[in-house]
């Protein structure tokens, strides 16, 4: 799994899940940037595919730490300083010797849970798909 993928997995994980799964990996880390809550302007496009416009903001929390030689950056959706710090620590660890351990214990279950949530909604949506049937009209007989 590449860094882009794991950072994205942390960003959208439910805060409580991320914090709980990261807890066993809590490591002494130097704080490069203390957890900070801020906003990101979300953009859309006119007509879905046209010129961009500003739709509105969303909240995010970011944090940066250093463990050994590795800088870890965490960005999570919403307002959670512990979740952003957990993401930053995990990002640093994933660049070192404990990468496979973190991948198995944190990333894999979080990614699977996200996929399960998405699949469950998709299947419910599909159950509401309209099956049209055509009525035989008089003039066709």
């Amino acid at each position: 799994m590449d860094r882009q993928a794991w950072l994205s997995t942390f960003a959208i994980a439910p805060h409580a899940d991320l914090i709980a799964r990261a807890a066993p990996f809590d490591a002494p880390a130097q704080t490069l940037r203390a957890p900070e809550i801020g906003s990101v302007m979300v953009r859309g496009r006119a007509g879905g595919t046209g010129a961009p416009f500003n739709l509105g903001e969303m909240t995010v929390t970011r944090c940066s730490v250093r463990i050994g030689d590795h800088d870890g950056h965490g960005w999570v959706q919403g307002r959670s300083k512990p979740a952003a710090r957990a993401a930053a620590i995990l990002d640093a660890l994933l660049q070192g010797e404990r990468a496979s351990e973190v991948e198995a214990a944190v990333i894999k279950p979080l990614a699977e849970a996200a996929q399960t949530r998405r699949d469950a909604r998709a299947k419910k949506a599909e159950a509401t798909k309209v099956d049209f049937f055509t009525l035989v009209r008089g003039e066709d007989q």
Binding site: V40, G50, P52, L55, G56, T59, W75, E126
Partner: protein, 362 residues
């Protein structure tokens, strides 16, 4: 004009204490949790996020609780909170074509790749009060299929391929941000879409409805309406990488409108666009109708006497936080102004009486 007055601090403190007590209501009734609001009043939360212009369900739930369910007050709280946040960047434009759709319908084409998906809709309910909800009990679980369904391409692309639909435009220029740059008239479409996305739902609904009743001829069809989750991606400067920083629910509406053509353009369909935070199709449809109406000048349409096509009227009166602020300020002390008014009326009356007496004696 209103002036500062001193005194009243004790009364204000007492009023706010009572407000807190009234907010809580009967203490023998369990207190509302934010999770309950976020999970069970989802559409209120969606409205507060959309008009507060900040996507954050727990924050909107808290604002609703604090505002005792007054959604415009909650929107005000969210707007005030957002001004305290540092802006950490701007996302790439979201790809609504890749939306994980809970709902996707078209009023213009029956058969679509991906199908018509109703989703959790109020449509086709009978609008009868359901007294079983007054009792405890969990609902029957929703049905689900085995597979997850096909891709759902944009409906208007089907018309676009035949050349019957105007292109939706393109480009990657940085859009105007009305939270940073004051709105200037005449407006550009990027600024209008930002204003409409955070505009009051009721105002947009009425404006859109007026176009349907004949104030503006922009007869609209809902080409496509979709609701679902999209990924928000942003380039993280310290990493030089684009990552997904969030997943948000959006409602998108694209309308198809008649256009008889102009000197430069052949007859073709034109577009109106609505995009709103959360599940809010009334607002998304309204937004797309008003967006199309506001393109009247660009499309060379007759502008006379149509409120929804008057950009100054729509842009300057659509924001419920601004409107509430100005409207409600007139309840604040205006003692000095009113003294002057009172003085003026008394003087006019004295003069009128004197004149009447003068005429009577002549």
């Amino acid at each position: 004009m209103y002036v500062a007055t001193k005194g009243g601090e004790k009364a204000i403190d007492a009023a706010h204490q009572w407000l807190a007590e009234e907010r809580r209501g009967d203490v023998n009734v369990a207190e509302l949790t934010l999770e309950q609001i976020a999970e069970q009043l989802t559409l209120s939360v969606a409205r507060v996020m959309a008009e507060g212009a900040v996507y954050d369900p727990p924050l909107a739930a808290l604002a609703i609780k604090q505002a005792r369910g007054d959604l415009i007050e909650a929107i005000f709280l969210v707007r005030a909170y957002r001004t305290t946040l540092p802006r950490l960047g701007a996302s790439h434009a979201v790809d609504t074509g890749a939306m994980a759709c809970d709902r996707r319908i078209s009023a213009t084409f029956k058969d679509l790749p991906g199908g018509q998906v109703l989703g959790p809709t109020f449509d086709y309910t009978h609008r009868l009060i359901d007294f079983t909800l007054a009792a405890d009990g969990d609902p029957t679980p929703a049905q689900a299929t085995d597979g997850a369904g096909e891709d759902k391409p944009r409906v208007l692309d089907l018309l676009g391929r035949e050349g019957l639909m105007e292109p939706s435009g393109e480009g990657d220029q940085t859009p105007l941000d009305i939270t940073r740059t004051p709105l200037d008239l005449p407006t550009t479409r990027d600024a209008r879409l930002q204003v409409l996305a955070r505009a009051d739902e009721g105002f947009l609904l009425s404006m859109a409805y007026s176009t349907q009743r004949g104030y503006g001829r922009t007869h609209a069809f809902v080409g496509e309406l979709r609701i679902g989750a999209v990924a928000v991606e942003m380039e993280i400067p310290e990493l030089g990488l684009t990552i997904q920083i969030g997943e948000i629910t959006l409602t998108e509406c694209e309308t198809v409108n008649q256009f008889t053509g102009s000197k430069t353009e052949p007859p073709q369909f034109t577009r109106g666009y609505g995009l709103v935070f959360g599940q809010s199709e009334r607002k998304a449809i309204s937004m797309s109708l008003v967006d199309r109406a506001l393109r009247a000048a660009e499309l060379g349409e007759d502008l006379s006497g149509v409120p929804a096509q008057d950009e100054e009227f729509v842009m300057m009166h659509s924001d419920n936080v601004q409107a509430t602020g100005f409207l409600e300020h007139i309840k604040l002390p205006h003692y000095v102004d009113f003294q002057a008014e009172l003085e003026l009326i008394r003087r006019l009356r004295r003069e009128a009486e004197a004149n009447a007496q003068h005429e009577a004696t002549e």
